[in-house]
């Protein structure tokens, strides 16, 4: 047998169980969603029936949903940016200055996530409300806000950032660890300042991590509905919460499916934009 063929067979044999599992329980369900999105609404048990129609897409793209799209993209974009701004110093510090405490520091980033996700959100709710700790402390310097910070856009972005930060830190850490620091010295020797070195040497050097991390944060944050619901209130409905409503109430499965397909399109766009860069990190 030719070596290439043997290598191909061996790799696929090892990947087969994963392929079968994902084929049945991931790909098939996603195909079903696409199918539902072209079905007709039905209030019965099946909740989506023939004949085929594009009605759900027309409804989903109705201008009435525009503010919700806009808000969702704003939340997701701001969350990704904030995760980058907070995650990069953390990842760089652990990779470059962590020494033998690297593993312990990385673990320390993950420990809070062993508590219940809902309990963490409720903790933020308590910290941010009118009589919460944040408002009280800010009150000492006169920066408090009537009624606290709950039910604001800021609260939602903060909660989302808290939830998704580890997904940004881990790929960034891998990229920072691989980055050759001597490039920074070389850049300084060649007369570049700190800012110019950061944007022209460091940032391109860790770009694969930045892209991988953003990928793990952006679209999942756009789909999250629990955080916006609990920290932003009913007024702040997002794309995810609209999808959830269509399914949980049994309201309109085709509409919910069409919106889910639109999020899948966003996934594909982001994957294509990223191309092959950063593939080694993820």
């Amino acid at each position: 047998m030719r070596p290439v063929l043997r290598r191909w067979l061996k790799a696929n044999a090892l990947l087969a169980p994963t392929g079968v599992w994902l084929g049945i329980f991931l790909i098939a369900p996603l195909v079903v969603v696409v199918e539902f999105s072209f079905a007709t609404r039905n209030t019965g048990v099946a909740r989506a029936v023939l004949p085929w129609t594009a009605q759900a897409y027309l409804t989903a793209l109705d201008p009435a949903f525009l503010p919700i799209f806009g808000r969702t993209l704003l939340y997701a974009g701001a969350t990704t940016l904030l995760c980058l701004v907070l995650g990069f110093p953390l990842a760089w510090f652990i990779a470059r200055h962590g020494g033998r405490y690297r593993t312990a520091l990385l673990a320390a980033v993950l420990i809070p996530f062993w508590s219940s996700y809902l309990a963490r959100i409720y903790a933020w709710k308590a910290l941010l409300d009118g009589e919460g700790l944040v408002n009280t402390v800010l009150g000492w310097v006169g920066l408090d806000r009537d009624g606290g910070f709950l039910l604001t856009h800021g609260a939602v972005v903060l909660g989302l950032t808290y939830g998704f930060l580890p997904f940004m830190v881990l790929p960034l850490y891998v990229a920072c660890e691989r980055f050759d620091v001597r490039l920074v010295e070389a850049s300084h020797d060649l007369g570049h300042g700190r800012v110019s070195t950061f944007f022209r040497v460091v940032l391109p050097g860790v770009m694969s991590g930045v892209l991988a991390g953003s990928l793990l944060v952006l679209v999942p944050a756009a789909g999250d509905f629990v955080t916006p619901k609990l920290l932003g209130g009913v007024e702040q409905s997002t794309f995810g919460s609209v999808i959830d409503d269509q399914f949980r109430g049994g309201n309109n499965w085709p509409l919910g499916s069409a919106m889910a397909v639109l999020l899948l399109v966003l996934v594909v766009v982001v994957l294509v934009l990223r191309g092959r860069r950063g593939e080694d990190v993820l």
Binding site: L86, A123, A126, Y162, V181, D224
Partner: protein, 269 residues
């Protein structure tokens, strides 16, 4: 770059403060004498006492643990195989990478409704433990593959070649050389898979059947009616404390063993 990075250190300290503030607050509030999470009125152990007595929490905790363990075992085994499959380049590897990145990138709500539609459509799969297990493995697998693969691809092939040159059979070489090298990553992947399953709210909330409510779904249903119960806050505090303790024991043990074997104090993972 030899200067101590004080400014960077300060920023990092602030980020850690951000990460730990809610957890610290949960721990404080779990000893609160009133139900409120935002106002501390006194010290009490009543929530821990109620937690121990609450059979509903205990039942769903048991189910959640069974589910998380089963999901972690299955996804670790087949995910580790897949990570080895992706070790060397072969035609079609890019396609596998895209397939494996889907569960990481597709929002949970989309996965949840997709799986609900799929299981409802296929009358053969009733909602409940089975459906939950299929789904949890499907979204945890990729995380195991990513974690194990990063270790496998960084591994020096010459170590295994050396073992073969010294007369080790492929099986012996795998058991004595390859496995010990990837073991920390496999453990990390398993822990990741366990955590993902154990804490999942969104996907599970679509797939729970009658009598098979997982703890996060139970908490979510309860919380959306009258806020989160202090018992859950107590349980979360216990979980973080247990994890931190396990990690500290692990780190201490690893450094003790490293010192004993005289090798460089290189911690695992």
């Amino acid at each position: 770059m030899n200067r101590r990075p004080w400014a960077l250190g300060a920023v990092v300290a602030l980020v850690f403060l951000f990460l730990y503030a809610p957890i610290a607050w949960l721990a404080i509030a779990s000893f609160n004498s009133s139900r409120s999470l935002s106002r501390i009125s006194g010290f009490s152990l009543q929530w821990y006492a109620e937690l121990v007595d609450d059979t509903r929490v205990f039942d769903s905790l048991q189910l959640t643990l069974q589910l998380a363990l089963s999901s972690a075992v299955i996804s670790t085994v087949i995910g580790t195989l897949a990570a080895f499959g992706l070790r060397r380049a072969f035609p079609g590897r890019g396609l596998w990478t895209v397939l494996l990145s889907l569960p990481l990138v597709v929002p949970e709500v989309v996965l949840g409704v997709a799986m609900l539609g799929f299981f409802v459509k296929l009358a053969g799969v009733p909602l409940g433990f089975g459906a939950l297990l299929f789904a949890h493995v499907a979204f945890s697998l990729s995380f195991v593959v990513v974690v194990v693969r990063s270790r496998v691809s960084g591994m020096d092939v010459r170590l295994e070649e050396a073992a073969a040159d010294l007369g080790a059979s492929p099986f012996v070489a795998f058991r004595t050389v390859t496995l010990p090298l990837v073991a920390p990553a496999v453990v990390a992947g398993a822990a990741f898979a366990f955590l993902l399953s154990f804490d999942d709210v969104v996907i599970s909330s679509y797939l729970t059947g009658v009598g098979s409510t997982t703890l996060p779904v139970f908490v979510y249903a309860q919380a959306s009616k009258r806020g989160i119960s202090p018992e859950i806050v107590a349980l979360s505090t216990l979980m973080v404390a247990a994890t931190a303790l396990l990690l500290i024991i692990g780190v201490v043990f690893a450094s003790w063993r490293a010192r004993r074997t005289g090798s460089a104090a290189k911690l695992a993972v």
